[in-house]
Symmetry: C2
DNA sequence: GTCTATAGTTAGATAGAC
DNA sequence: GTCTATCTAACTATAGAC
């Protein structure tokens, strides 16, 4: 299997490098200023290239956005799965859930996940459907851990697991809106607070 | 105290009516399509007016956005306070918290609160500061209920109340991103799931 | 108060030289 | 592959008639 832009020997072409740089700076700009505020000219300037040259690598502005989103969901998935693997397959599902949520939060804070998700609705329908599927796959990782905990009899009954999953992930995704990197709390501590609520509640 | 656009007798001028209609349709359009995608022309068309006429009522596009945000945070506050009042001042703080969260969620779902919050960062600094103050005041309502519960000895110790408050409100704010009005769950049921987590956790 | 007409700006995208 | 130059379309905002 050969990726476009790579030669049969696996060497990386100049085009491939430029394309990668464009995705990188576009990602940063979209995060910092919101997808709507970032123009093709601005992306070009940040990548030290002229605006017209962008269209050698991407056929439209939306193509750039699409590439950025694609990379984003893949990277988050990789980091969450790595965190789960590191916790060990024979650890408690709750331990792995904690690891997965912490990885999710760290990725969210680094990449301002929420704006990524919100950008999806502005894509053309076919691309949007594709990305919503990717998001569903991502969510399924967490749903799987919850289900495993349930199967092992670790959880009480009487709650809707899928609602709980969405509430929990929403709480973490929203952290990006109020988190202060210069504040006293680390992402791990926030995750621990959330796991505290999830395990014990806050009521006596 | 007399609001601009109202006569001393409290009659509502034509300008006041048009202005109100513009805010109304702008709110709807901003919610549906995101603040960046909505042009002055589109707002005008939806309000059955010509684009140029908008500038009789607002000095700039940002002024419209400002008015929309202003109304939004005020209305949410009113509804939450009404829900708290309805629960009764001598009810348990947790009962009032539940009522406040349900009102918050309902308002969020009706008005797509999260896009309102995200628009703030694009405002000029002075307006942004003003609105962040309003958001803080709003959050203080919920913080107050938690603190009262704490003072009455209803809560366990060992958690950071302000982090819990932000996680809980974030979870609800994010509901607007996944909620399906045609689905089986009502806003009240979602609130109850959240209160269930908060009171008991989900772990055995 | 609302209209029509338009100025002034900036966006995404293309064409052809190099 | 990247540049320069430019097209077309859309935007915000203004001016003056009614």
């Amino acid at each position: 299997m050969q990726t476009e832009g790579q030669t049969a020997e696996g060497r990386i072409t100049k085009a491939e490098r430029t394309r990668a740089r464009l995705i990188e700076v576009a990602t940063r700009l979209f995060q910092e200023h919101g997808t709507a505020e970032v123009t093709v000219r601005r992306i070009a300037a940040a990548a030290k290239i002229e605006a017209g040259s962008i269209y050698y690598h991407f056929s439209s502005r939306d193509e750039i956005l699409r590439a950025v989103l694609e990379r984003g969901v893949g990277d988050a998935r990789d980091e969450v799965l790595a965190a789960i693997a590191e916790a060990g397959a024979d650890s408690s599902p709750l331990v792995r859930l904690r690891a997965a949520l912490a990885a999710h939060l760290k990725y969210t804070l680094r990449h301002h996940f929420s704006s990524r998700l919100k950008a999806i609705r502005h894509l053309p329908k076919r691309l949007r459907d594709h990305h919503m599927q990717q998001e569903r796959d991502y969510a399924a990782i967490f749903a799987g851990l919850l289900r495993e905990a349930q199967r092992k009899g670790l959880l009480r009954g009487g709650f809707d697991a899928s609602v709980v999953r969405m509430l929990v992930m929403g709480a973490l995704t929203w952290v990006a809106e109020w988190y202060d990197p210069k504040g006293p709390l680390s992402p791990d501590e926030i995750t621990d607070e959330l796991m505290g609520i999830l395990t014990k509640g806050i009521v006596k």
